[in-house]
Amino acid sequence: MTVTAARPSAPPSPQPIVRASPGAAVSGAATVLVGAAGVALGVAAITRPLAALRVGWLLPLAGVSFEVTGTAGLFMVVTGAVAVAAGCYSVGYFRHAKTAMATLSVLPLFVLTMIGVLAASSVTTLLVMWELMALVSLVAVLSDHHHAAVRDAGRWYAGMTQFGFLAILIGLVVLVHSGGSESLSVLAARAGAAPSSTRDAVFVLTFIGFGAKAGLVPLHVWLPRAHPAAPSPVSAVMSAAMVAVGIYGVVRVDLQILGPGPRWWAMVVLAAGALSALYGVLQASVATDLKRLLAYSTTENMGVVAMGLGAGMLLADYGHPVVADVAVTAALLQVVAHAAFKSLAFLAAGSVVAATGQRDLDHLGGLAKAMPVTTICFAVGALGASGLPLGAGFVSEWLLLQSLIHSQPGSGTLLAVVMPIAVGVVALTTGVGVAAMVKAFGVGFLARPRSPGAALASESAPSMLVGMTMAAAACAVLALAPAVVAPALRSVLSATPQAVGVASPHFGVLLRLPGIAGSLSPLLLAAAAVVATLAVAGATAVAGRSRRAQCRAVALWTCGGGPLSERMEYTATSFAEPLQRVFDGVLRPDVDVEVTHVGASRYLVEGVRYRSVIVDAVEVRLYRPLLGAFETWAGWVRRAHSGSVHLYVAYGAVALAVVLAVAR
């Protein structure tokens, strides 16, 4: 039995259906309305420039000012769409669990603050909205605060969020100081003139802050704790929309406002992305908690997005604007696709958890017959997450690979070394990601139930199904006709100095890359695959019918050993075991084998207990020593607080003497 970082599941029996609570319906409706408003605002901002809104009296000294740019518009559409699906879903979800009023009221507020962050056009507004978003989401994460694991997750989340906020605060304050204005558009015009050390400092600080929100390694440690701990609609919004807000920060500040920078900026973004992608996907492949698997998959996808942005910056620096265009397009499309399939996956996972009371894949299974809609929805989400053709994530991955392979030889040694490594990283991420998603879907939904909770599952409430179907429809549209987001992508590219190429990729039935010989038609591929599969199935049926061939439902072949029990099915742990062995050095599982011998003789065994725990290696190797060192240092400082008034007066006298000496 594998326990991934000791995460306790929800209570073993599914919750009984409680009386329909009006609070859930109101909260869900409010979320849907806010989301729809966000979508409308975003679409309007993409198609034409919107007027700015400034309310001088709302905040002392600075006031709030909102202006939705084209970039913000794209992310607003994404946030709004996720909110609509999650809001509809939450109507049914929160009826099952006894939910506090706090959580119900917080969900629409959360979406509102995110839209506020995206619409902010001055630094103060951005910071205020950011902090509000962090506080409101913290309340949402802590909705189940009776469990110790949830409280622990809340602590980590609060700590990392404040750390990120601090970094963003300092970075943006430095930027404002050097630019002389608070408005983001004015700063964008003046940032090029700032001294390079200032720009470097701002880049590092804001990348750390926004990267922590996006879940890039090594600042990701809150993600696998907070996303599973929150209720599923909140997880969906956090994982699909809030990390996108982090990416928005990176795009807006580090790419658009700061403008083209030295080469090492691009390398930092690319390296952080590659590390996040690999680490996230490896942890996802060995995770047995369904929501933790999806959380690590978020880290992986954000890593791929960062790789796209970094590759775009690097290629632009080397003077390949067209290819840089393609890379940034790939990153943005990946954000949109990730929002669709990750929200769908989290909503389906929440549906499973609500129906079975189980979050551990090792105890799920056999849900395809009892919960067909949920199964199909999770299958669509998993297909998108794996980056396979017919999935929502395929086109963005294809675009990213095209941008990586089209740097010309002779451009420079750095490109010649970095691009193959980047392609290798993307490929390994895809491969292991496919294994992780196949594990999640195959073990969690197919075959027979592995626990009584899974055996008693039944399909979710209609509102939950409607929410999931909306997200699934978005996945299907993105998989077959990504042209719908083309205007939005173009509006973002036109505002990004690194990616103003000659022409952006042409999205139609055939996706054509300008200036590069490359084309793809996801619709034609999907149609051909479906037609070919149906043709083969039809031909088999016809060929079989002409001779004697009747179907018969039979027992499974067990080598004559008798009927199978559910203990004999492959679990998620056993499925991932070969991969875990290969990447043993990175994952460092803690394996413990305890053998109980028969009392009379040490040669006879009564029982064997095997325990394998995979914790987040970054947390263990980086954070624990750092926190331990911090605690030791704080202990030294504590010794100075001895309680003696004479000592404190002496401290004051010494400090006064120092100030007098320095200030003279």
């Binding site: 004697r548 039979v554 072949w557 067990t558 004559g560 050993g561 008798g562």
Partner: protein, 159 residues
Amino acid sequence: MRGLIAKMWRTGRVAEPEPALPARARLGGVSQGSLQLRHVDAGSCNGCEIELSGCFSPVYDAERYGTRLVASPRHADGLVVTGVVTRNMASALRDTWAAVAEPKVVVALGDCACDGGVFTDAYGVIGPASSVVPVAVEVRGCPPSPTEIIAGLRTLSGR
């Protein structure tokens, strides 16, 4: 590897020439020339197994007649049962027979599988293969030689 190539060159073809085709047997309505069998040892002394593996060795090469031993009964057209059916293997034999898709046959290989052989009245024995599954072809002998086994298999494969 060079030594192996030289050995292949020197050895050449080891398979003995094909004997004449025996009298054909019908296998339901299935086309001739392809026979996949799943071997089940119901309680044999392994003498028949050695002869059966000799059938598929390069000298006798039963695969040239379209027969093949397969791992899963679902992939098979029938079973090759060796040995008398012991109590412990009775249910396993029945499960294996149930797992084969129609049309299917059973080949009883060796005297033990055909009529109990030397183990007829032993304890722990249920009987010959026919007491548990319907036998279509019997190959007698203790153990039968590969030539006799192949003659029996060819009545089913028709090649």
